[in-house]
Structure formats: C-alpha cells, structure tokens
C-alpha cells in the first residue's frame, strides 16, 4: 500500500496559522504568566495577530489555486471574506477591552476564543470540501457557545449559552445529515466534484434532501426564518461585545459558505431552490422588521434587525447572478462596519453592568454626547439604508441584482420592509435628539482607541457609501469564480 503525500504550501493558509498559533500562545500566557503583564497585553497581542493575518491576506490577494488536496480554496472570494472576518474580529476586540474590565472578566481565554472563532470563519469561506466547511462551522460555533456564557453569574448569559448550544447542536446535526445525504447521492464531498456530478446527472432524492438540509444548517447560522428564533434570546443574554462579534462574524461566515456552496454546486438547478429561499427571505425580512418594532431593549432590537438584514442578503443569493454575489460581499462588509459601530455605541452607553440598554436611555444623548450621538446616527442611517451611506448602496446592489434576475415582487417586498425598518432605527435618533434626558446621563467612559474606532467606522460607512467604486471592483473581482 502506498499513500500519496499531498504537497502543501503553508503560505496559502498563512492567516489561519497566525490566528491559531496566536490563540494557543494566548492560552499559555494566560496560564503561566505573572499577574503583572496580564490584562493589558492580551488584547494587544491578539490585535497584532489579527493585523498580521490581515497583512497576509492582502499579500495573498489574487492568488488563485487550491491546496491541501483541494480541501482549501485559495482565491479572492475567501480573501475578501477574510478581510471582513478580520475587520470584524479586530473591531470587536477593541470594543471588548473596556467592557470586560468593567465586569472584571478581561481573560486571556476570551481573546483566544475569539481568534479561534475567526479561524472557523476563515475555514468556512475557504472550504473546498463539505467536511472542511462543517469543521469550520464547529470551530466557529464552539468558542461562541463558550463566549456567550462568559458571565457565569448572570442567568441571562447562561440561558443564552445553553440555548445557543442546544439549538446549535441540533442544527449542526441537520447540516451534517445533509452533507451525508449529498455524499450518499453523489459519492463525493468536494464542491467541484459535486457541481460536476449535478451538472451531468441532475438531482436525485438524496441530493434533494441533502440540499434542503444544507439550507436548514446554513439558515440557522444566518438566522433565516423559521430557524431564527434563537437569535433574540442569545443576542440579548450574551455579553454585548460577543453579541456584536457574532452578529457580524457568524453571519458573514455562514453566508460565505452558503454562497459558495449554492453558487458553485447548485447553480444549474436554481429552479429547485429559489422558490424555497424566496419564501424564507420574505418571512425572514418580515419577521425581523415587524418584531423589531415592538422592542424596547436595544440589544433585542438589533437582534431582530440582524434577522432582517439576513433577509436582505438572501435576496442577493436568490438573484444568484454576479451582481447579486458582488452585492452580498459589499453588503456584508458594510454591515460588519455599521453593525459593529452601532454595538460599540451601545456598549459605551450601557456602561457598567449593562444598566442602560433600554432605548429610552438614549434620550438626550444628542445634547450631552453630541459626538457619540452623531456616529450612532450615521450607523443607524446606514442600517436603514439611506444615501449616502454604505448601507444604501449595499441594498441598492442587492435589490438591483434581484430585479435583473426577474424577482420583481421580492424586491418590492424587500423595499416595503426597508420602509418599516425606518421606524425603529430612526426612533433611536429621534429619542437621542428630540427628547430631553430624564436624568443626567452620567459619565460615559470612552477611551481614545474606542473613540477613534467609532469615528473611523462612521467615516468608513460614509466613505464607501459615497465612493463605492473600488470596493465594488474588489468584490466583483472576488466573485468571478462563479461563472454565470
């Protein structure tokens, strides 16, 4: 018996190696270093790792190959998503520091787990084999389960972690079962081989069910209706910094895999899944937006808003064309920045021990903290999708892709949904600027780094909204692999 040893090139997975090694080192530092060096340096160390990974990604840009026996795709699509993940991770780390110190929870594990989660995300976007994608899902999910339960003394945090773990395991089982079905139907795990098989021989019973279960598995992770119900509870209970992290990271990673699998494997049988997703997208948007109207807890409101955004992004997936895929990439980038920004403001306003999470706690913010209120307004306007913000152009690309593909009614429903969303986003703005504070808001602690991050994020939202050209080009370049 002879075994073929695959040739591998480690630079292809440079960002993965950096993040994994940094995560492991963090664990060791945390366990063995003296108290003195601890707290201050963990986040700096992890930030450095993120920046190095980012640089590696940029350096890899335009490399187009597969590696590890075709297990890993090395292409711009995964690099673009790497940038989204790493930006999300980096910003989340910055927003976490002060928050965790308030809770005396500034552990090294926290950052290590975040880095591991980022590893999972990258694997999901780069996986060329369903097993790798599943591996990515688990590497991403397990740290997030732990992180949502970080506040062990807090019942809500416990509840969030347990619910997420139970339901996550439940849905992972479906995902895995779907993968098994696809293997049963085609005899391969490789995306490229699956695509070739389906193109040649069409669908059979196994592949139908397999595809359906993949929709369930990915749908759970992106919080698509009817698999969205965990979202509000988990988002509300988890530490706010983790809510921010998973609202952008998990969603982007799941969409990366969703997009890759469906546009690479199943483009030839679009008719078989577009109707299903059509219904799911409409339900997702409507449930998200309509329920968000009735929320007074801002974390819950943002949870429903994140469900609604999943619906908008599904519109781009249903369109299934180049513009749709480009739109998804652009939108996820924009969404990452604007949603993290909004959560950053929420963290700042909530202050010690999450005391100020009701939307009416924002009354008078516009007068006492005009800068904070201004950046929050930018993020909210972008979430609404008003020009000239990035959110507007993202929606514009997604919706015009759907129009191009002929889904007029879907776009009409999506636009109506956007209009509904205006109400609950702008309500915050109205409260901030038009209602007097009931009591003095008290000091809002802002470190210069957080200040700078929020301001840069707000500027970025405006900048890529006004000058979308180069980002759009990069995104378009990244989805060229889906020849359609």
């Amino acid at each position: 018996m002879s075994i073929d040893i695959p040739t591998i090139c480690l630079t292809n997975i440079g960002p993965l190696i950096t993040l994994s090694v940094a995560g492991l080192l963090l664990l060791l530092f945390d366990a063995f270093s003296g108290k003195a060096m601890k707290k201050a340096h963990f986040h700096q160390f992890s930030l450095v790792a993120v920046v190095i990974a980012l640089l590696q990604t940029v350096w890899l840009w335009n490399r187009q190959t597969t590696d590890f026996s075709r297990m890993i795709y090395v292409d711009n699509f995964s690099f673009f998503f790497n940038v989204i993940f790493l930006l999300g991770t980096g910003i989340s780390i910055i927003l976490s520091v002060h928050y965790l110190e308030n809770y005396r929870k500034n552990y090294g594990e926290y950052y290590a787990l975040m880095l591991f989660a980022a590893v999972g995300m990258i694997l999901m976007a780069a996986g060329g084999n369903l097993v790798i994608i599943f591996l990515g899902v688990e590497i991403l999910s397990i740290p997030i389960y732990i992180l949502s339960g970080l506040f062990r003394e807090d019942l809500k945090s416990n509840e969030a972690a347990l619910k997420y773990l139970l339901l996550g395991a439940f849905s992972s089982a479906f995902l895995l079962f779907g993968i098994a079905m696809l293997y049963g139907g085609t005899g391969t795990f490789y995306l490229a081989d699956l695509a070739a098989f389906i193109k040649k021989s069409g669908m059979n019973g196994f592949t139908y069910v397999g595809m359906g279960l993949l929709i369930v598995g990915f749908g759970f992770k992106v919080s698509m209706a009817p698999f969205h119900m965990w979202t509000p509870d988990v988002y509300e209970g988890a530490p706010t910094s983790i809510t921010a992290f998973m609202s952008v990271g998990t969603k982007a990673a799941a969409f990366a895999a969703f997009l890759r699998v469906f546009l690479e494997v199943f483009p030839t049988v679009r008719m078989e899944w577009d109707l299903l997703l059509w219904v799911a997208a409409v339900a997702t948007m409507t449930v998200g937006n309509v329920t968000a109207l009735a929320q007074t807890n801002i974390k819950r409101m943002l949870a429903y808003s994140s469900i609604a955004h999943a619906g908008y992004i599904l519109v781009g997936l249903i369109a299934g064309n180049q513009l749709g895929a480009t739109g998804i990439l652009y939108y996820l980038l924009a969404y990452t920045i604007m949603n993290l920004g909004a959560f950053g403001v929420v963290i700042a306003v909530a202050r010690k021990k999450d005391n100020y999470l009701n939307i009416y706690d924002y009354a008078g913010l516009g007068f006492q903290y005009p800068g904070l209120a201004a950046v929050m307004s930018v993020f909210l306007f972008s979430l609404v999708g008003m020009p000239p913000t990035a959110g507007f152009l993202g929606k514009f690309y997604l919706f015009s892709a759907a129009v191009e593909a002929g889904y007029i009614w879907l776009v009409i429903i999506a636009v109506i949904n956007s209009l509904i969303s205006v109400y609950y986003y702008l309500r915050i703005t109205v409260i901030m600027y038009m209602q007097p504070a009931e009591a003095d808001l008290g000091p809002v602690a802002m470190t210069p780094v957080v200040n700078a991050t929020l301001i840069i994020s707000a500027l970025a939202v405006l900048l890529i909204g006004i000058f979308p050209g180069s980002i759009f080009q990069l995104a378009m370049n990244s989805v060229k692999i889906f020849g359609s």
């Binding site: 339901l167 139908y208 069910v209 369930v216």
Partner: protein
Amino acid sequence: MIQYVWLVPVFPLIGFLINGLLGKKISKNTVSLVGPGSVGLSFAWVLGCFWEYLHLPAKAKPVEVFVFNWITSGTFNAQAAFLVDPLSLVMLLVVSGVGFLIHIYSVGYMHDDPGYARYFSYLNLFVVNMLILVMANNFLLMFVGWEGVGLCSYLLIGYWYEKQSASDAGKKAFVVNRIGDFGFLLGIFLIFYTFGTVNFREVFAQAHNFPVGSAILTIITLCLFVGATGKSAQIPLYTWLPDAMEGPTPVSALIHAATMVTAGVYMVARCSALYVMAPISMTVVAVIGLATAFMAASIGLAQNDIKRVLAYSTVSQLGYMFLACGVGAFVAAIFHLMTHAFFKALLFLGSGSVIHGMHGEQDMRKMGALKNKMPITYAVMLVGTLAIAGIFPFAGFFSKDEILFKALTDGHVGYWAIASLGAMMTAFYMFRLIFMTFYGEKRWDHHVHPHESPPVMTIPLIILAILSTVGGFVGIPLIQGWNVFHEFLAPSIAHVAAGHEVHHSMTFEVMMMLVSMGVAGIGIFIAYKMYIKQPELPAQVTAKVPGLYDLIYNKYYVDEIYDATVVEPIKNGSVFLWQEADSKVIDGAVNGTASVVDRLSLVIRKLETGYVQNYALGILIGVAVITGYYLGR
C-alpha cells in the same frame, strides 16, 4: 505635476478639515496661516501644472488624470477623474489665484469676527468644490462641485445668521439655485440617456454624429442652460444675487463676482461642442444674456447701496459673457470671465475696504470725498472702474470690445446696439459710484472716521489692480500671433461650422474699438456732468421721469412679481397640502398602516416564547416543510 493635479483640491480640503474641526482649539494665527496658505499651495501647484502643460507635446494633450472609480452600476460608470486642458487651466488659475488673494484680504477684513475659523473653513470648502467643478472630466463630478459651491454660497451668504435678512438671503439663493439645478440635472440625465456616458470627451465626440439642430441636443443644451441661469444669475433666476450681498464682502468678491457665478459660463463654454450643434439654444443663450446685461445695467443706474451697484453690474457682465457664448464667441466669453474676475474682485474688495473704513456703512449717499482719506483704495477702485468701463488699455477693454465686436459680426446689429447701450450704462453707473464715494462733499455721520485699510487688505488690492491693468494683454486682437489667449484656448472650444469665413478689415476693427470706447466715454461724461459738475441734476432728471425712475429703482418689481405669481401660490398650495392632504389623507394612511404593523408585531412576538423546546420545534417544522417540499417532487 499634472499627474498629481488631484492635490489641487486636496490642499484646501485639508485646510477646511483643520479649520472646521479644530477651529475652536487652534489660535487665530494658525487659522490665518492654514486658510490662505492651503489655497496658496493650490495656486502654486496650478502654476506648476500650467508650466508643465505648456511644455507637453501636442499629442499628450489634454491630460485626463484618473483618481478612482466612483460609481459603477451596470453600464453606468462615473469616475472621479480630472481633465486638464486649456479651459480648465484658465479656470484653475483664476479660481486659485483670485481665491488666494481674497483669502489674504479676508485675514484683515474678518479679523475681529467671532466666527473667524468657521469663516475660513467655509471659504476653503468653497474653493475645494469650485476646483472640483472646473477640473471634473464628467458631468456628474461637475455636478458634485456645482452643488458643493451652492452649499458653500448658502452657508456664506447666511454667515451672519443671527441677522434675519442674511439668513433669508441665504435661503433665497438656495431655493432659486435649486430651480436651476433641476434643469442641470435633467440635462445630465438626458445626456446619459442619449449618449450612454457622462464623460465630457466621449459625449462631445459622439455629438458630431447628430445633425445640426437635432431636437434632443437642443433640449439638452436648453436644460443645461437653465442650470447656468440659476448659478450665473441670468433672467429669470437672477434675483438671488443682489440679495446675496448680505454675506461678508470678500465672499461677495470671491463667490458672487469672480468665481462661482461664472460657473454657468464655464459650463456652457465646456459644452461648446453641444451648443454649436443647437442653433436655437445658441439664440436663446444670446438673447437671455443680452436682456440680462441690459436690464441689470439699467437697474444699476439707480441703486444707492455700493455693493448692490456692484451686484447688478456683475449680473450685467455675466450677461455679456452669455451673449458672447450665444454668438459662438466662447473664447471671448472665457476671456471676459477672466478679466472680469480680476476687476470685479478688485471692485468688491475695494468696496469692502470702503465699508471697512466707514465702519460698515454701505449707502453711497452717506459717503463722498473719501479720495484723500483712502488714497490706495481710491486708486485701485479707479483702475477697476476704468477696466469695467472698457477704457484702453485696461483689461476690460480687450475682452468687452471683443464681445461687442463678435456680437456685431457673428450675431446681429441689434445685439450690438443694445449691448453698446448697456456698456454706456455700465460706464455711467460705475463712475457714478466712484464720484459719489470718493468725490463731492463729505456726507458721512460725524462719528464715522474713515481710514485707510491695513496692508494685508491693500496688498491684494494692488495686485488685483495690476492684473486688471495688464490682464488684457494676453488677448490682443488684430495682430497675428499676439492673441495668445485665443490660440491657447482653441483646442478646448468647438467652433460654429461657419459656411463662410468672413475676414474683417483691420480698419473696421479699429473703428469698432473706437466706437465702443466712445460709448463708454459718453457714459463717463454723463456721470461726471451729473455728479460732479451739477449735483442738482440727478434730482431733476428723476423728477422728470418719475415713473421710469421708480421702475428701475425698484428693480422692475421683479421680486414682487415673483412673490405674487410663484411664491404665494406655492405657499398657499403647500399650506393646503399640509393641512388637508397631508395631515388627513397621508398621515391617516401612514398611521393606519403603522397600527396594523404594530398589531402584527405583537402577534409575532408571541411566537418568541423563550422555551428552547419551542424553538427546536420551529426548526423541526422548518425541516419537515423543506424535506417535504423536496421529497414531494
């Protein structure tokens, strides 16, 4: 340097950011350094580009500098890219150069204003937008600058916002400009619809494929011209400019005389390739320009506010520029634009110096005999006045004479006659201004002590005076090879396809020059007669034709007519819409929808029970539906 021409608007942008964001924290001296300094850097860079451009080989011209892709959507593509060609270079030199001088002047003029940094940040932002406007290589980017200067103009007119009249004037300028902008925007849409691109080069290249006088080009050019009438204060949208004098005087000089208001002329000249294909539009441009030139000049005869006289004179001079465009003499229009920028900036800044010295007094009836009190101001104002009146060898002579000459040869003898009459009135009211301000008896209040302005104000004045004197020499007509300006600009401008090349004899040209100077001379003489020799004469003249005097003194009642015919009906209509249609029908529908959605929201919220088993059940139902859907086929 041309490859880095995008730095030109970046310098003032940095100035804007520093003054705008840190204005309250940094010292006044830093503001005075950053504000004018950033524009000075731009000017230096433009000079460098200009020098380099002159030495480029012919086939490398014009230069398009691509900065980044701005918007891509389907087949629509707008770049942020800059076009460097003779036309934009001339505009760049004028905008950055005159802008620089006016910034320096402002240091003295605005020195004691509490909003010093705010003022400079607006002024810098204006320069940024104006530079983008003239450098853009496509209509959309030009529109960005176009709107940007409009915004800055609004902010600066209402700079003293605590004054009711100032903020009203700002609003008026904004609203009136909106009407013009609508036309411009419509024009851009039509251009994209017709040509499939908004890039200047591509649009103009395709324009030749259309027949002369084709309907679509006529409509496009008319739409663009509507935009130009708004920005450049032509009939019927000129009413905002005189009110805009509520802003600080350097602003009037920079925005409402030298640069922004000439944007319309620049745009028409830039689109000369479109206009020459649309004779009807050319006629409209010429007639509107002529009518504006004449009407504004006549209003200027009877104004007593020193800045208002200059404002109407600006409107009138802009009319001349459009007249030139309308008869196909685009180069003459740009030439006049340039010289006008010099002498009108000079006159405004001079009047600012007078107002400064008179402690804010603007009424010429309360001035007089300032000649000895403010010798430098007097001298430079006289230079400016001679230039605008068109006296040889001052700058205005060459440019205005060229316009009059072209109006006669390429236009119509009627054009020439009316334009000459306008020129006579120009000479009259400008010398009336000089005589009322600097000569005669002193009529100022006893507590006013006129004084000369500080050097930081007078030095820019002197430089502008020199430019107003020699600025015309770049475009000397008659002698072959001396009309440098004409030759330099020629590549940027399209020519009317002339069926016959008429060559006029030199004697004819010289004769026409003498005639136009004679006309100006008559105007000056009448002014001299009325305001120096026989000061009682104006009252007699007024008494003789009271109706006519009232008519022009009240600016033909145009504001009142607009109020009665446009503003009031719209106001009444909107009150109706607000009280009836909006609050009852629309609000009713919106509130109804909202309450339905609200109720729905409460129902859906019930699904969110918080029990994990219910959630799992939800997932299971989803799985059942999906697998059922697939197994059922």
